[in-house]
Symmetry: C2
Subunit: 305 residues, 2 copies
């Protein structure tokens, strides 16, 4: 299986604690890095993770609250000092470009690379905001105090694997192989029809990671994240603090687990912890009582998707 890993750089919420950095994560998908949110100190945590800065070309910002984007300027500056030349794309809600451009013009006037903003409007429907040969990123509509969305990172289904021995046996020419990988059969020179399933093995199932933060608990996301391999869902509060969660448009650990259960995801990781809990195992226990396969996010944790 090719690499598809989640690295937690920070999983606290807005107030700094001695235990947590604000939100930032990196997905390593086949050695391409995708950053999700970029709270203050993300570049420091990225350095500590030993991930290669140069492999990061895309940063996705869920919403324009400071604890999710105050690390942007630092990381952009540092990439410049390191002599980066590849374009860096910031996928962010509308408004980000207008806000950050004056700062970039002043603090990063002579960058050796281009920073481009790809803005989207976190609306009521999922929207594809990124695709490449192996990956598609779609927004997940969330509900917070200002426009906000999560992100679904889905591997594209790969072509079937050729069974080399069968290709040789039927002396199938190379130029036919792509059709066969895409599902076609083959007719030999003497008119024999060979079905595709004798020539190929199915590829590994495509994997999916869903990131849902920040949001009040909404079950409208369940369909979109159905059976994902890994769900990160914010769990800012314990359920006893539900009134506070509602008031601030956040989710409780029990609610996050209920979403995970309804969506029948394979694994749940909770984060975006309020500074009020000295010991977050209280959140973990609460979630596990509803959805046993739950992990607690923590800085430097790496989870295979």
């Amino acid at each position: 299986m090719e690499k598809f890993e989640l690295h937690i750089l920070g999983c606290g919420s807005a107030l700094p604690t001695t235990r947590h950095f604000p939100t930032s994560q990196v997905l390593n998908i086949r050695e391409k890095l995708f950053m999700i949110d970029c709270g203050e100190g993300s570049q420091i945590q990225l350095r500590r993770s030993r991930l290669k800065f140069s492999r990061l070309n895309h940063i996705f910002i869920s919403h324009l609250h400071g604890d999710h984007c105050f690390g942007l300027m630092g990381i952009i500056s540092t990439f410049g000092l390191l002599g980066r030349t590849a374009e860096l794309t910031i996928h962010a809600p509308e408004g980000a470009k207008r806000l950050f451009t004056p700062l970039l013009d002043f603090f990063c006037a002579h960058l050796p690379y281009t920073v481009s903003f790809h803005e989207f409007k976190p609306g009521e429907k999922p929207e594809v905001i990124y695709t490449d040969r192996s990956l598609t990123v779609t927004t997940i509509p969330l509900k917070h105090r200002l426009p906000c969305c999560g992100f679904l990172f889905a591997e594209n289904q790969r072509q079937n694997h050729i069974i080399r021995e069968m290709i040789d046996f039927y002396r199938i020419p190379t130029y036919e192989l792509n059709k066969i990988k895409n599902g076609a059969g083959y007719t030999t020179a003497d008119g024999q029809d060979i079905p595709n399933n004798r020539l190929t093995r199915p590829s590994e199932p495509a994997r999916r990671y869903a990131y849902c933060s920040d949001t009040v608990c909404i079950d409208t996301i369940v369909d979109q994240i159905k059976e994902v391999n890994l769900l990160f869902h914010e769990a800012t509060f314990i359920h006893k603090d539900l009134p506070r969660a509602k008031e601030t448009f956040h989710t409780t650990a029990a609610q996050a687990a209920t979403i995970a259960k309804a969506a029948n995801v394979k694994q749940l990781v909770i984060g975006h912890f309020s500074a009020r809990y000295e010991d977050e195992t209280i959140l973990l226990h609460e979630a596990r009582a509803i959805f046993p396969n739950t992990l607690l996010a923590k800085e430097s944790l790496c989870i295979p998707v």
Copy 2:
């Protein structure tokens, strides 16, 4: 002696390392806190220092490079979340207000307290930019790639201490005491002149802390920082890398020590270390060979001034 302590929150330079945060320091002067520079992560380091956030009312920014001010937005937001009501003053070079105001308007729209900018023009002459009953802060003209200055924090000379026994002996009325603290003598009812030095003991000498970063090595600062109790001077490079220091308008450890020696300061602490040195004791040894009473800055270090 009343408290006058320097806390190092970060002493790296622009590139993040696993060892250092970018520049930030806090002076604790009689339980009033003064922050000097505010690199990314300063609020996290301030939290770790266990210093009381509410005691910090003034932040001094030496120059508008990101590694000295990208932590401002985070700390301002956090103070708001904590319900601060006291005004926070940012003393910074011209331009800071124009740069940060749009961000404050967007990210910190409903702060429960006022952020005010007190801008100054880092010029060729020292300028008093802050005074209170016990302290005066003066800029120290430096030479960097853009307008930049250091800061001299000087305790105001305190009044002499009254010798209570002598006051009682001569039955000096209370309303005379302030004059005596300020140096006056006293004439008794029967015409006897008592000189001031029989009525008072001298107060402790006023202490001074000088912060000089970032700058190419310039000896024009020597007069202003003469015999300070503690000098922080940047020492980004070792002397072998002098060409690089000149090119980037930074100082070597040997140069910082030479300045300390010429100014006859009591103690030197060096910082703003380049990311290129895995082990900074090389910088310390270089400085100590010239000025023995040198310390290496490090995160969480606290030095009495």
